[in-house]
């Protein structure tokens, strides 16, 4: 199970990294989100994979490590805040720079149907 878990995390991370290397804001933001999912999975597993051990006192004999869970929770929230900001920033950069290229140096010629509102 551990091996599969690790491989899954790895693949998710790889997908996220690949997306962050794209040249448009949207895939980059999606990539960052994906990356943060993967990283959360990774961080979560650092306390070991426990079945039937929710960290509620009195419900089990062996508990899952609660600390990584708390850390991941914090990380999820922070990641959410960051992703939200990045998304809006992507929109802002589209609005200001007229392109969704991460470098702002290409125009949106490929999408002639859009007109400025």
């Amino acid at each position: 199970m551990e091996a599969l878990y690790a491989i899954t995390t790895g693949i998710l991370t790889a997908s996220g990294v690949y997306l962050t290397l794209r040249g448009r804001t949207f895939p980059v933001v999606v990539g960052l989100t994906l990356l943060s999912y993967a990283v959360n999975l990774f961080l979560f597993s650092m306390g070991g994979l426990t079945t039937h051990g929710a960290a509620l006192v009195g419900t089990s004999e062996h508990y899952a490590d609660p600390l990584p869970q708390a850390l991941v929770l914090t990380a999820i929230v922070i990641g959410f805040a960051m992703t939200a900001f990045a998304i809006i920033l992507a929109m802002r950069s589209r609005g200001d720079l007229g392109s969704d290229s991460v470098d702002g140096n290409r125009t949106d010629r490929e999408d002639p149907r859009e007109n400025k509102a």
């Binding site: 997306l19 070991g48 508990y63 922070i78 809006i88």
Partner: protein, 930 residues
């Protein structure tokens, strides 16, 4: 502790002009002179009231860790230079009063001048190499300011920059040399360094030290090949040239060589480098002085030449040569300063410095002519003036030099050549300016300057004559003491006199004078001869060099920082892969000591879904909506994974966050182009795939390696203390609100900031709004589907109920303020989605920012309450209460903290989403045809 007063006084003088200028120009000049005058008095007072043998020293710790001390010394060498610096400085102040025009800011000029004087005083008085270096560079800076005084002129700016660059660079080399000396000797104290001759010269670092120190000295003293800045520094006002470029600053290099002479000299290396450089400079400078047409240009090259002369004397190294050098320093300062000032007067009166335009001035300005001619004669080394005496001494030393073995003749040859040219250019200077019939009228009709302007020249010329006639006058105590400070061994007996009898030196002198006259007569031919060489203006070369360098740098940097996030991100990822790989390479075995758990099919299914979702999100990224749906699958399965591996809180949080993220991404999808064009070339894709695989592989390996190793962690404590210490059964929640509540406080602060930041970003944002979807269809006209509207209002109370429930039980069961907050926010957002922003805004007629902030505030103040009980921030407390009918209720202060989280989450999330929605309503094209 009195010595520091000398530099300090002069330094305080920097501020005087700005204050005194209100009283008028004369008052300003007088006031400016006060501080240096007192300083000069102090110097003399100290020196004279002091036993000559012992060096006066004082030192104060400044930065002991560096070895920097505020240490000053006053010995003969310092005295000689101090007299020159302050004495001539005072004359310059006087001269300047008349030289500067009304438009020039006199106070500024004086301030710079005094600043420069301070730094020179500092150099010659420092008893610490680092301190010396400090003052050294300060002279570069202040000379930059002085040269560029007429900053509206290009030549002034460029000349200043060049001077600054070259001397500054030399200063940096000097610093390196000083550092090395410090490494060898172990201290920067000059006193100790001077006693460490053997230590330094025997060190393997000696060549480096010597070269670096000499680089500093040579650049400052305009030695070949670093001389070229000096002529261009002549763009400065003449008092500056007179002061800096003849009497003082250029002598700083000489001073340095003198100061460090006891420590560094006496080796073959020293002799070869210093002597040859000096001689070459001597000849080179003199030759070009002969060819120059600008009055100050002639003087500048002549200065270079004379500095070469002094340098070569220093290189020769025996003690008499040193004395000659010291003597010539004085002489040169006297005649050159006066010449510069005279040139300034001529420039001032005629409006030009070009000797081709001048001539016949002796009729109009007889006194100035006389003064200039005397100084020129001194410069040419013609008896009976002081210049002759020191030149004689130079020839004597040159003729008797024993260095260079079989090539020893080269020294007198070059010395003679230099002398020859210098006679020639001196003659030319005097002749062309004063006696030749003018070829054209000068721009202004000249007459004698005001007496006080001429006075400094007169004084200096008088000194030239006096010393020429009575050369023993400065011998004691000035020259002797200065020589004693410089010469490492026994003080030589020496006697300065005009007439030494007929000897080789005298013959050489005579020959040189005669040759000089001949050369002067041949001047026109010489000019023609010179014209066949391509004129190479150092300024253009230098500028071109700098320009090229800058251009090169620009191209390089533009290439590197090409503004491509893709590249930066690639580098980041590549470096990270490297970091992880290096760690993994250090691992003996990937698999650790723990046995793996058996795989159950449901987990396998989940993994399969995750892999599918992840890979497809990436692979289909150009179809943005599909990619997003895949991301959604990943989000769902991740939360299921959390549930599967005993983390209910995480599952709940992940789910709610995932939905809000989806909503945000949908919004982005609308405002961003809906498809990604294919623009990455194949190679780029391959590169990215490789780096992604590398990264993923490294992460997977790390994950596996950690998972298969047992862990001795601190988490047992949390499980043990959750109930007794934190009053909650849900350990994760107790960690969040109690054990690590501080993290959580930070986390909700982040959330609140995100809200604020997004609000900021949306300010005045106008976005493209596509009129059709990505397949070209117009949008549906049904803005708010009825069914959805009805259901959303039905769901709202239920959602609030659920969120309240989840909030309340968070401490003991999965849940808590964060999830509750997100549920509330999402339910409200559903309203926004179904009914539109306007509708919702009317009903939610309060701002969200105060809510978010109130949440943070609530949590913070809950934490602060513990101060009242003398506990640290965020210490929690809990108790059981018994209420009739209801029974036992457990109330923990952490619950209030959690309430803060709830509020912050609701406020921040709504700030993000509602503001975003509001942004678009106003100008949405409802029905436009593309």
């Amino acid at each position: 502790m009195t010595l520091p007063w000398i530099p300090l006084l002069t330094f305080l003088g920097v501020f005087v002009p700005a204050l005194a200028i209100r009283g008028g120009r004369t008052v300003c000049a007088l006031a400016t002179a006060i501080a240096p005058a007192i300083a000069l008095g102090l110097v003399l007072y100290f020196y004279l009231g002091h036993d000559g043998e012992e060096v006066m020293r004082t030192s104060m710790q400044w930065l002991p860790a560096l070895g920097l001390e505020l240490a000053f010394r006053l010995d003969g060498l310092s005295l000689l230079f101090l007299l020159l610096i302050i004495g001539i400085g005072l004359l310059i102040i006087l001269y300047t009063r008349y030289y500067l025009s009304e438009q020039d800011s006199m106070s500024r000029f004086y301030a710079f001048l005094i600043l420069f004087m301070t730094s020179m005083v500092g150099i010659v008085m420092s008893d610490n190499l680092l301190l010396l270096w400090g003052f050294w560079e300060l002279t570069s800076i202040s000379s930059f300011l002085l040269i560029s005084f007429w900053s509206h002129e290009t030549t002034a700016r460029k000349g200043a920059r060049m001077a600054m660059t070259i001397t500054g660079a030399g200063g940096l080399a000097l610093l390196a040399g000083i550092m090395l000396i410090g490494k060898v000797v172990g201290t920067y104290s000059i006193e100790t360094v001077l006693e460490s001759h053997d230590l330094i010269t025997s060190s393997p670092l000696y060549p480096a030290i010597l070269v670096l120190v000499l680089l500093g000295a040579f650049t400052k003293s305009a030695q070949f090949p670093f001389h070229f800045w000096l002529p261009h520094a002549m763009a400065a006002p003449t008092p500056v040239s007179a002061y800096l470029h003849s009497a003082t600053m250029v002598k700083a290099g000489i001073f340095l060589m003198l100061r460090l002479h006891p420590a560094l000299s006496g080796t073959e290396l020293w002799t070869v480098i210093v002597t040859l450089t000096g001689l070459v400079t001597l000849v080179y400078g003199a030759w070009f002085a002969f060819l120059k047409t600008d009055l100050k240009g002639i003087l500048a090259f002549s200065t270079i030449s004379h500095l070469g002369l002094i340098t070569s004397l220093l290189g020769l190294g025996n003690s008499l040569a040193l004395v000659a050098a010291l003597f010539h320093i004085i002489n040169h300062a006297l005649f050159k300063a006066s010449l510069f000032m005279a040139a300034g007067i001529i420039d001032h009166e005629t409006g030009t410095r070009d000797v081709r335009k001048l001539g016949g001035l002796y009729k109009l300005m007889p006194i100035t002519t006389a003064l200039t001619c005397i100084a020129t004669i001194s410069m040419a080394g013609i008896p009976p003036l002081n210049g002759f005496i020191s030149k004689e001494m130079f020839f004597t030393e040159a003729l008797s030099s024993q260095q260079f073995g079989g090539l020893a003749w080269i020294v007198p040859l070059l010395a003679g050549l230099g002398g020859l040219f210098s006679v020639a250019y001196s003659l030319r200077l005097a002749y062309a300016t004063f006696f030749r019939r003018p070829r054209q009228e000068p721009p202004k009709t000249p007459h004698e300057p005001p007496w006080l302007m001429r006075f400094p020249v007169e004084l200096l010329v008088a000194l030239c004559i006096v010393i020429g006639l009575m050369p023993t006058l400065p011998q004691s105590p000035i020259l002797e003491d200065a020589a004693r400070a410089t010469v490492s061994g026994e003080m030589p007996e020496f006697h300065l006199s005009l007439w030494h009898g007929v000897n080789a030196a005298l013959l050489l002198s005579m020959a040189v004078i005669a040759g000089g006259i001949v050369l002067h007569l041949l001047h026109r031919h010489m000019m023609r001869f010179n014209r066949q060489f391509r004129p190479q203006d150092a300024r253009y070369i230098f500028e071109a060099f700098v320009q090229r360098l800058v251009g090169l740098c620009q191209r390089l940097i533009d290439r590197l920082e090409n503004g491509s996030l893709q590249r930066y991100m690639f580098l980041l990822m590549a470096v990270s892969v490297l970091a992880m790989a290096l760690g993994l390479a250090d691992l003996d075995m990937l698999t650790g000591n723990l046995a793996q758990q058996t795989l159950d099919p449901i987990v396998a299914l989940g993994a399969g879904l995750l892999i599918m979702g992840g890979v497809l999100t990436a692979a289909l990224h150009r179809y943005r909506l599909i990619s997003l749906l895949m991301l959604s699958v990943v989000g769902l399965v991740v939360s299921l994974t959390f549930a599967r591996f005993s983390a209910p809180d995480l599952a709940l949080t992940q789910l709610s966050v995932e939905v809000v993220t989806m909503i945000l991404l949908m919004l982005a999808l609308f405002f961003l182009p809906q498809k990604t064009p294919k623009e990455s070339a194949g190679a780029r894709v391959v590169r990215d795939v490789l780096i992604a695989i590398g990264f993923g592989g490294a992460v997977a390996s790390l994950n596996f390696a950690v998972l298969t190793r047992d862990l001795d962690s601190i988490s047992r404590f949390f499980i043990d203390h959750s109930v007794p210490g934190g009053g909650g059964h849900n350990v994760v929640n107790v960690i969040l609100v109690d054990f690590r509540g501080f993290d959580t406080l930070g986390e909700i602060t982040v959330l609140a900031i995100a809200g604020l930041a997004i609000f900021k970003l949306l300010n005045r944002l106008r976005l493209f709004m596509p009129a059709t979807d990505m397949e070209g269809r117009l949008w549906s006209d049904d803005r708010h589907p009825t069914l959805l509207m009805v259901v959303s209002q039905t769901l709202l109370p239920l959602a609030l109920l659920v969120s309240f429930f989840i909030f309340l039980r968070g401490h003991n069961q999965p849940g808590g303020g964060f999830i509750a907050g997100l549920i509330t926010a999402v339910a409200l957002i559903l309203l926004y989605m179904s009914r539109g922003v306007e509708w919702a805004q009317q009903r939610l007629d309060f701002q969200f920012q105060p809510i978010a902030i109130a949440g943070v505030a609530l949590s913070t103040f809950t934490g602060l309450c513990s101060w009242l009980f003398g506990y640290p921030f965020l210490t929690s407390t809990f108790d059981h209460f018994h209420l009739p009918l209801i029974g036992d209720i457990e109330l923990a202060s952490a619950l209030i903290f959690d309430g803060g989280i709830y509020l912050a989450v609701v406020g921040a999330t709504l700030m993000i989403l509602a503001n975003l929605g509001k942004l678009t309503t106003a100008h949405r094209p409802n029905k436009d045809i593309p």
